[in-house]
């Protein structure tokens, strides 16, 4: 009896571990993986930056590749003055901006119709839009060659080897996906919002421009970023459809003019790639705040 009383008196503390200790460990692990992640992704751009500041001799010498012994801006000056690099950049910029504008114009209007105006076959059509996105581009460029040839024969318009042809081509890649994103965003806007607008006297166009576009701005920005990235980085179509140096866009231009046979001008390639990666980065940085700000908060209860 006495023994039992003593055992009952000392309350055993099971060793569960404390909340704060668990949290500390979770934090340590997350930092560990985040650092690993950062190193993995920052290595290539840093290597590009280092290489772009070296002379050709230093690049081919067997020194420490992570250190610059003799820094120079030679690669930058040469790339920007003696090559078609600025032409490539201009072509890329015009194509991307036009493609983004065209894509958003088509996909916002299409998504609004598919998400809100219930018409015969609208659901099937919405799925169809997404399915077109699943067809790989590599399957499409041969039929596109045939179509361009037909256009040339019947209408007399030569679409081959012009940078502006890409403005027609890229939307085939961007419109389906952007429409799909926008359908999702528009569908998340409560139905009562357009009914309220309808009663307030708004037409469909006014409902779209005054209610839906402002409310779905985060979605529109997400789609814009996507469309820009796709058209800026697109490689296969420009490689297949443009050949003259003045008609090239950045990704194709860099490799076709800076790689001559088996001679790789690494310094300029790295410089070109680094400068070419800048615009998407700048756009991300500017639009990210908008993207994160939840504009739909407060529309309804919540």
């Amino acid at each position: 009896m006495a023994d039992a009383a003593i055992t009952a008196g000392t309350v055993a503390r099971p060793n569960y571990g404390s909340m704060s200790r668990d949290r500390r460990w979770a934090l340590r692990w997350s930092y560990f993986f985040l650092v690993l992640f950062a190193i993995f992704f920052l290595m290539p751009p840093i290597y590009m930056l280092i290489t772009s500041l070296k002379t050709s001799q230093e690049i081919s010498a067997a020194g420490n590749p992570w250190w610059i012994y003799d820094p120079t801006l030679e690669n930058y000056i040469e790339l920007l003055t003696q090559n078609h690099y600025l032409t490539f950049f201009r072509n890329s910029a015009i194509v991307s901006v036009c493609v983004v504008a065209l894509t958003m114009l088509i996909s916002v209007i299409a998504a609004f119709a598919l998400a809100r105006m219930k018409f015969w076959g609208s659901a099937t059509l919405a799925t169809g839009v997404f399915l077109t996105y699943l067809i790989p581009e590599t399957l499409l460029f041969i039929p596109l060659f045939k179509m361009f040839a037909w256009v040339n024969e019947t209408l007399g318009i030569q679409l081959m080897n012009h940078w502006w042809t890409l403005i027609i081509l890229y939307p085939t890649l961007t419109v389906p996906f952007c429409t799909w994103i926008m359908i999702g965003y528009f569908a998340s806007i409560p139905k009562e919002l357009d009914e309220a607008a309808l009663i307030d006297g708004a037409t469909w166009t006014q409902t779209l421009t005054k209610i839906f576009i402002p409310v779905a701005l985060p979605g529109i920005i997400a789609a814009t970023i996507f469309a820009f990235t796709v058209s800026w980085a697109q490689f296969l179509y420009p490689l297949a459809f443009t050949t003259s140096a003045t008609e090239l866009v950045l990704p194709v231009g860099i490799i076709t003019t800076l790689i001559k046979g088996d001679v790789f001008n690494w310094g300029q390639i790295m410089t070109g790639a680094l400068l070419g990666a800048a615009p998407p980065l700048v756009i991300y940085a500017f639009l990210m705040d908008y993207y994160i700000a939840g504009l739909t908060a407060g529309a309804t209860k919540g």
Partner: protein, 366 residues
Amino acid sequence: MAQVTLRKIVKKYDEVLAVRGIDLDIVDKEFLVLVGPSGCGKSTTLRMIAGLEEISGGDIAIGGHVVNDVPPKDRDIAMVFQNYALYPHMNVYENMSFGLKLKKTPKDEIDKRVKQAAGILDITELLDRKPKQLSGGQRQRVAMGRAIVRDPKVFLFDEPLSNLDAKLRVQMRTEIKKVHQKVRTTTVYVTHDQIEAMTLADRVVVMNAGLIEQVGTPNDLYHSPATKFVAGFIGSPAMNFIPCQLEQAAGALRVRLSDKLSFPVPSDRTARYASHAGKANLVLGLRPEHIAETRPHTEANQHDFDMMIDVDEPMGMETLIYFTIGRTDICGRVNPNAGAASGKEMKLRADLSNMHLIDDGTGKVL
């Protein structure tokens, strides 16, 4: 003048009839509440008046003009939605003025009307806030403000208080009533909450399964329901329905609830009920407040009986008691000091002057 008339209104979704031919006359300046359980067609009816749903059959007229094919914006109505439906990117002022701006109303006129409506609703200091900076009650006021500024012929409310917590709901209910007294616009209000219906309405329309069960003032519905559905839907706790037999014995009519328990029918009702004596499927409807503890003085039609209490629920101002007759659970309301306790025998008193006799087969109150 803005009376609303519904004639043989039908709404069909594919093969399902949501509204099955209803007739309704809403008088100018009236506050009419459509109430019923979910799926009874009340919201669909409201949305058809608004023009948000097409009408499958029948006619709707607002102010004497048939509006079946008139788009919502030309019906001169304003609607308040359950989830407020405020435009999230506009501030309160812009939300309220959006409709007027679309109608190209002059700027100073818009300003005057918005300020006036904001004054009525006490939201003047919120005019430059965005909806997300407002509480639920404030958002509800803004939604009402948006309706008021348009000075429509008819206000439509679609369960506007369902998203608010209980305390705020009671407060906003009073607010809505005050606003209606100030602006006197014909109002159609949909709710599933019978207390909201009773407290707000000039007249209540009880709907069930796509049909109107009864139209009447709150007191009409409470004291003389036409059907078992209305009797059970209006009032909380709900009316007791006790299976009974009507017996003609020695020249007197009695309702028999069990072998041991029977009450004489009030003398003013004997003529009305006499023909139903001996019929099957009869139900006695008696509200909980007409079953109370016994008192020293007995008035006409009050009868004492002893009962074992199953459960007692003290509410503070009264105590709800539950007991069983046959297989039916019955609720009564007694004085908190009457000594009601679970598992104890108690002397109760039934007041039959407010009894209802219901034919359970047809659901009609006899």
